[in-house]
Point group: C2
């Protein structure tokens, strides 16, 4: 990492620092710091922020990231678009979310993203963007910035997402899997800030896992590491969208839970779910969580069964990779402590005591913000690296 890159990251992570502190922290001579800052002020990425508190001797000046720096974090879900604009320190400046259908194809979805960005610009959230991070719900070639054979994203295969956005916005763009950007959010600004070996499990429409090893996001040689939704948990059924049988996400995921809750409502096994189904025409994971909280035993059983299945898979992964933390995120994390309890129970019962002795299994801290937060973080890393090269 070049000195410029290190200066930018330090100011992002710690805020305004005096020139003297910068030199001390980066172990650089003051003259070198002055030269690098001069260049960063010319861009402008850095900005003088008045005199620093005296440390004795000649008073140093504070520097900070330029207040006009803006990153866009974009999280494309299967059924949603979330956009957040942050400043250089990754503090949110503006945000916008709406329902969307990833299956409507890249042209439709990305043109809607464009409209949202224009709207946020018109509202004064930014003048120009310094970097964009975008997550998509499928496998991505991180190097090429394109989705690769995404199973539920018709029309997106190898669509040049990074290239098109780079051309349109004239800034560095980074494209990653939606689970990876959420994992990145929790690792940089959420509950996993101090953990090095983290499994971030997203349970949304599908199920996936972001993996941090030694503090670094691990994507695997083909970029598809963490695809735990298709680990087999039952030998005979149901058939999964991937064509295999008994996959985890065919048994427990947003889609599976809605299917099972609808069945419980239709058959009358659950009176509470039947009432909601009659009133709303459909039931969601949120209905299941609310019915369970109101004491509906069928709803509670649906959550516990799902948590047990997920926990069984995670127990195996704990034996395999010996993580230092597991974070449960995504929409179904809203099932809360009933879900968490089952997952914990399975992991603590099934894995080697040596591996679980110091293993926290916790819920996401950032919730629905995890994806956009991680995407902005990735965008800032790329933009700073490019500006500093």
């Amino acid at each position: 990492m070049t000195p410029k890159h290190r200066i930018l990251r330090l100011l992002r992570d710690e805020g305004p620092l005096s020139r003297a502190e910068l030199g001390d922290r980066l172990e650089l001579p003051r003259t070198r710091v002055a030269v690098e800052l001069e260049r960063l002020m010319a861009v402008p990425l850095v900005h003088e922020a008045g005199p620093a508190a005296s440390r004795g001797g000649r008073r140093s000046t504070l520097v900070e990231l330029h207040p006009g720096i803006r990153f866009a974090g974009i999280d494309l879900g299967v059924t949603s678009i979330d956009v957040e604009i942050t400043d250089g320190r990754l503090e949110p400046v503006a945000a916008f979310s709406e329902a969307s259908d990833i299956r409507s194809g890249p042209k439709t979805v990305l043109s809607r993203v464009g409209e949202i960005l224009v709207k946020l610009k018109d509202e004064g959230a930014y003048e120009r963007l310094n970097g964009i991070g975008i997550g998509v719900p499928g496998p991505v070639s991180f190097r090429d910035g394109v989705p690769v054979s995404p199973p539920i994203m018709p029309g997106w295969d190898r669509y040049p997402v990074r290239e098109l956005l780079t051309r349109e916005y004239g800034c560095p763009v980074v494209v990653d899997n939606d689970v990876n950007i959420m994992a990145m959010g929790e690792r940089c600004a959420g509950v996993a800030r101090s953990a090095e070996n983290v499994l971030f499990v997203k349970i949304g429409s599908g199920v996936g896992c972001g993996i941090f090893i030694g503090g670094e996001l691990y994507r695997g040689p083909d970029g598809c590491a963490g695809d735990i939704g298709h680990i087999q948990v039952e030998p005979d059924d149901p058939i999964c969208t991937c064509g295999n049988i008994g996959c985890l996400e065919a048994l427990f995921s947003g889609i599976a839970l809605e299917r099972d809750a609808t069945a419980a409502g239709r058959s009358g096994t659950s009176l509470a779910l039947a009432q909601r189904l009659a009133a709303q025409g459909s039931v969601t994971a949120k209905d299941v969580a609310e019915c369970a909280a109101d004491g509906d035993t069928t709803a509670t059983r649906l959550i516990r069964d799902g948590g047990g299945r997920l926990g069984g898979v995670l127990a195996g992964l704990v034996s395999f990779i010996n993580p230092s933390m597991i974070v449960i995120g995504g929409g179904l994390a809203g099932l809360g402590h009933v879900l968490l309890g089952e997952v914990r129970s399975a992991v603590y019962r099934r894995s080697l005591p040596l591996a679980t002795g110091n293993l926290p299994v916790v819920l996401s801290e950032l919730g629905a913000r995890a994806g956009v937060a991680g995407a902005s973080f990735l965008a800032s890393d790329f933009a700073f690296a490019e500006a500093a090269s």
Copy 2:
């Protein structure tokens, strides 16, 4: 890594080099190379080996690792001791193997290791050892050099293996899990030489996995990564030695295969196994392999069932970690291509096509030598790091 350490590793991995080549390869000025070599010759770890081929201009001299350098690689299995003495380039100089029982406790086993080392010394294999690597069949605190709560090694828990051997032999000693040293052997000198993200699966008395990520052995924060023998594959039975139900190694491992083959012989399901059982009093994995090769369908079925179970677990791990190679080693790798076929079939059928497109699933190249080869490699790394610090 210090220049001295880099010189030692380069001479280990590539053999004799001229002073000029050393400088070029390490991007160090010739005067610096000369100073470092002088120090390494004084130890002595490095040695002059005559004039190098002319590259024009003043002729350079060849240097190589000192011919007296010796490392000991020790692989303690559940039922065996393997020892290999290598030179500085990790070429075998002498080896010795015998049956042993890890359950006879650390004093008995390590004093037998001592006798073997004395015998090899008396036979002229070495004068003094520069480093020792030792693998044990259970979890190890790599930092402390002690086994930690090993389930099948009574008396070994926190036994100071490294401390005692260091005191006795006056050289750097490194203690690791037996699966990790075998994985290290295949990665450094075997079939996985050019792969960065490798799963090395040992199927011996138990089942375990060595994990390379980004070229580095991954042990996990508690040192127990790779404990895949206790991943659950059946919900109801059998009870495993760990107390849980349906663990992989309770269904497929050396011990499980002997149990099942004995049952098949006793019940007469397999005539071939019954004959061997009558003649020998017991049957082993080797008998199963031979009976299968002779066309015994029960023996073949035992291997295929086991391979299918192992393959099912590996398919899940492939979806999770997206490795670039899987190596099957340990005693049961002797079941050969019938086993390998079943494992491949399960992995290729169950995992994401993106993850298996370029994924070789192969048998160990070093076979029974993998452990001692990896242990010597680890020993050399530690000894060189210590000598260069």
